[in-house]
């Protein structure tokens, strides 16, 4: 069936099964390669996207629920000023190693900072609990988000 939604501020229309996962539509039909599949069951957050501004695991979203929604992937978000702040924070703090979880963490940081522009380290730890990273041990990601909040003061 035909489903219309907004992807990164552009209207898109896809003809797919109701039950198809948003993750597959984004990767296979719309070439959003920043959206990664890590576990397929909503545990790892590698497939995180913003759905009407909320952080969701796109592997758990059936296309039937996407009609009329605004979906943001890193492909769209990376053109924003807020992304630049997160990028600088992550660079400074060594938040990226293998990079597979990185797009999910960038969007998790956006969701967190847009909810709470001045989080404490503990609030950041809590805010990224849905995203798994096996490389860094998390502290350097938390530091990256805390840097980003300073660099991007006033953006959120």
């Amino acid at each position: 069936m035909k489903i219309d939604f907004v992807l990164n501020e552009e209207e898109v229309s896809v003809d797919v099964e109701h039950s198809k996962r948003l993750l597959d539509v984004l990767r296979e039909d719309l070439h959003q390669i920043s959206v990664k599949e890590g576990c397929g069951e909503g545990e790892c957050g590698s497939c995180s996207v913003l759905m009407d501004g909320r952080l969701v695991n796109s592997c758990l979203i059936a296309m039937a629920n996407v009609e009329g929604c605004h979906i943001t992937t890193l492909e769209g978000y990376r053109n924003s000023k807020r992304f630049e702040a997160i990028k600088k924070g992550f660079e400074k703090s060594g938040s990226v190693q293998c990079g597979f979880c990185t797009p999910g963490f960038v969007l998790a940081a956006e969701a967190l900072l847009s909810e709470n522009p001045d989080p404490s380290a503990a609030e950041v730890m809590k805010g990224i609990e849905g995203n798994l990273c096996r490389c860094t041990g998390y502290h350097m990601i938390v530091a990256g988000i805390l840097e980003a909040k300073e660099i991007g003061k006033g953006l959120w």
Binding site: E43, Q97, G99, E129, L132, C135, T136
Partner: protein, 706 residues
């Protein structure tokens, strides 16, 4: 601080932060089809028949009949088939592939395949393997390998002993849990097979394809794609999906993508070896430890894989950082009908140091002495010999490392305070990691070779070592540009391609900076002398250092070319209601020589520590009738951000004489010492001994209720 240690921006950062790095599952060349592996559902059986449904057009079955040369994945022993033929030996063993354009159709075909098995009594753990009789899994014996070595005069020392302190420790499986599952893309142009994928060791796949296809190396090309974590899990294992995808591409004449789902990946890929380790220390009338008798048993799973090498590292490490002159050490890697055990960061070290460090704690407890003082008394130092009688040529600064970690963590006052504070504890561990291949392996097995090319003012690095998140695309540039004294922007380095990168060895064993980095530094030093020449290249081969020696038959000599050293302290509090271990802090001090990039080093340290934390606590992975019970991220629990304590790490300065700019190996050592420090802390908190990992709330509840 050495100038090279100053952090710079990683060269893989831009692609990764923008989400533009193309990982294997992101790449869809024209005409690409998918493949999926059909696997054994039983742990041990004869295959009586396989019924395949009729296939729609454009769909293919690939099995052992499609193999042009040998049905074997070459690792150390050639016992593992590419596809099972007459028998299966573990749940998840590959039998055939289904390939075609639509994933859903592939699944429909898989569901209609019917295998008739005649089951054989499986061997399900170390204990069963020890007592099993025929039919054996591997040759006519219950194990893949059994090793023994002696040091000093063990027999006489035992006779002199007045007291014996014995322990038995058990450690569990651990899954690497890289975020990107095993992923391979194979393309065949009618002449050359090209494998692109997520991997640590491109040349392992080259060698496997040579054996399986029987083709000349000139027709085989292996290229690493950006790789979403590895941790040992992409050392030898990718040869299997690599060969599978290659066979499918050759048969279908289409590019073939083979990407595992998470559950399949956990069920079928290699794991850290479960172990049982028994240690007996013999003490004389002055309560001096005069001898040790150590037995190591590993569950190797159904095929030999890297078990022999993992076992060697376990038995060479299991004497710990201590100079006990008389040793009898033996180890056995058993064959069982479990998933194949293999490489995982630490490679036998975490099991060994868990056992020896917990044993030292027990001796201190029995002798009513301070556990740190006891350790210090036996610390190895420069000029001493290792457990395998190799002389330690370089300064060893274990006292300094220990002083630092004790001070940083306020260990002494907490340790005494927690004696009277319920459910609180603090523990310490001291450990090393041998860097590089075992013994003379670098010279005799790996024979690493690097290539450095100059074209006008630009220099390019050609090595087979992979960027798996540890920063090799940055650290190697730093080494070369520093040695040449040129701006780093003029040094180029890409993901390896076997077509133009010589075999500089696998990206394993904490060897890349130490061995390959040093070869590149030597190339660059040579290149600098000829800098006025416009374009040329230098190829450098590894030479075994003349002051080292190794006998691989008797295990005598320098077990590793170099060593990194460390000490950890872990502080815990046990939740009085849930019995969960709340880790309050981790302190870590290392001698890794000169850090090549401080930020990259910190990332390796913290990431390794957190994997060690998971190994010690939440990462429960057990088999039941040969099947892993935890095979998703819902049931196999790796640490999340909420599980992370504050981590304080520090490096001591003690440059290596071997590595580039004084660097030693780093990748593995941060994982090695966490479990014993944490378990010692739990012991203090509950006042009971801990002899297994992972430590679960159920274990603690049981101990507390006793």
């Amino acid at each position: 601080m050495n100038k090279i240690s100053e952090s710079i921006k990683r060269y893989d950062f831009e692609d990764k932060i923008h989400g533009k790095a193309v990982y294997t599952p992101d790449y869809h060349p024209e005409g690409m089809i998918y493949a999926k592996t059909f696997r054994s559902k039983v742990s041990r059986a004869k295959i009586l028949s396989i019924q395949i449904p009729s296939l729609p057009a454009d769909y293919f079955i690939v099995d052992h009949r499609d193999i042009p040369a040998k049905n074997v994945i070459p690792v150390v022993f050639d016992d593992q088939p590419v596809f099972a033929v007459n028998e299966v030996n573990y749940i998840g063993e590959p039998i055939l592939l289904v390939a075609g354009p639509e994933k859903s159709v592939i699944l429909e075909i898989m569901n209609k395949i019917n295998v008739e098995y005649q089951t054989i009594q499986p061997i399900l753990n170390i204990e069963e393997a020890e007592s099993c009789s025929a039919p054996f899994i591997f040759k006519e014996q219950p194990h893949f390998v059994h090793y023994e070595y002696h040091k000093g005069n063990f027999e006489d020392s035992v006779k002199r002993a007045k007291r014996v302190i014995s322990d038995e420790f058990k450690t569990g499986y651990q899954e690497q849990a890289y975020l990107e599952t095993q992923s391979i893309l194979a393309t065949y142009d009618g002449d050359t097979i090209c494998i692109q994928g997520s991997m640590q060791c491109p040349y392992y796949i080259v060698e496997s394809l040579e054996v399986v296809l029987g083709w000349d190396r000139s027709r085989i090309r292996v290229i690493q794609m950006p790789t979403g974590g590895a941790f040992g899990g992409k050392e030898d294992f990718p040869s299997i999906p690599g060969v599978h995808a290659a066979l499918a591409a050759i048969k279908s004449k289409r590019p073939v993508q083979l990407v595992y789902e998470r559950q399949e990946d956990i069920q079928c890929s290699t794991k850290r070896h479960p172990s049982i380790i028994q240690i007996k220390s013999f003490l004389d009338e002055n309560e001096e430890i005069i001898a040790r008798d150590i037995e190591v048993k590993l569950d190797g799973g159904a095929y030999a894989g890297l078990s022999s090498v993992v076992l060697q590292r376990t038995i060479f490490s299991v004497a710990g950082c201590y100079n006990v002159e008389n040793l009898f050490v033996r180890g056995t890697a058993y064959a069982t009908n479990n998933v194949v055990s293999g490489a995982f960061r630490g490679f036998g070290g975490p099991q060994a140091f868990y056992a020896i460090e917990m044993h030292m704690e027990n001796i201190a407890m029995q002798l009513r002495t301070d556990p740190i003082q006891l350790r210090r008394k036996y610390f190895v130092k420069q000029g001493d010999t290792s457990s395998t009688q190799g002389k330690f040529h370089d300064p060893i600064v274990l006292d300094l490392i220990t002083d630092e970690v004790i001070t940083l963590s306020d260990f002494k006052s907490k340790r005494s305070r927690f004696e009277s504070e319920k459910l609180k504890g603090i523990g310490c561990s001291v450990f090393f990691h041998g860097c590089g291949f075992t013994g003379a392996g670098e010279a005799e097995l790996i024979k690493p070779k690097v290539r450095l090319k100059k074209l006008k003012s630009e220099v390019e690095i050609f090595i087979s070592n992979t960027e798996i998140g540890q920063g090799v695309l940055t650290t190697m540039r730093k080494i070369v540009s520093s040695a040449l004294g040129i701006p780093i922007e003029h040094v180029h380095h890409n993901y390896p391609n076997s077509h133009d990168c010589p075999d500089s060895g696998p990206t394993v064993a904490s060897r890349t900076v130490l061995i390959v980095g040093r070869l590149l530094q030597d190339c660059a030093t040579e290149m600098k002398k000829r800098w006025n020449e416009e374009s040329f290249e230098i190829i450098q081969n590894y030479a075994y250092p003349s002051h080292l020696s190794w006998d691989n038959q008797t295990f005598k000599g320098n077990a590793y070319p170099d060593y990194s050293w460390g000490a950890n302290v872990v502080e815990v509090e046990i939740n009085a209601d849930t019995y969960e271990v709340d880790v309050k802090g981790i302190w870590a001090v290392y001698d890794i020589g000169t850090p090549i990039d401080e930020k990259i080093v910190k990332g390796q340290i913290e990431g390794g520590i957190v994997q060690g934390l998971g190994y010690a606590t939440s990462e429960v992975l057990e088999t039941k009738n040969g099947k892993l019970s935890q095979d998703t991220f819902t049931t196999y629990i790796i640490p999340s951000s909420l599980d992370i304590p504050p981590i304080f790490s520090k490096l001591v300065e003690n440059p290596s004489t071997m590595g580039p700019f004084g660097a030693r190996g780093l990748g593995e050592i941060p994982l090695v010492g966490i479990a014993p420090a944490l378990a010692s802390a739990v012991q203090q908190a509950i006042g009971k001994r801990i002899t297994k990992i992972p430590i679960t709330p159920e274990d603690i509840l049981k101990e507390v209720q006793l």
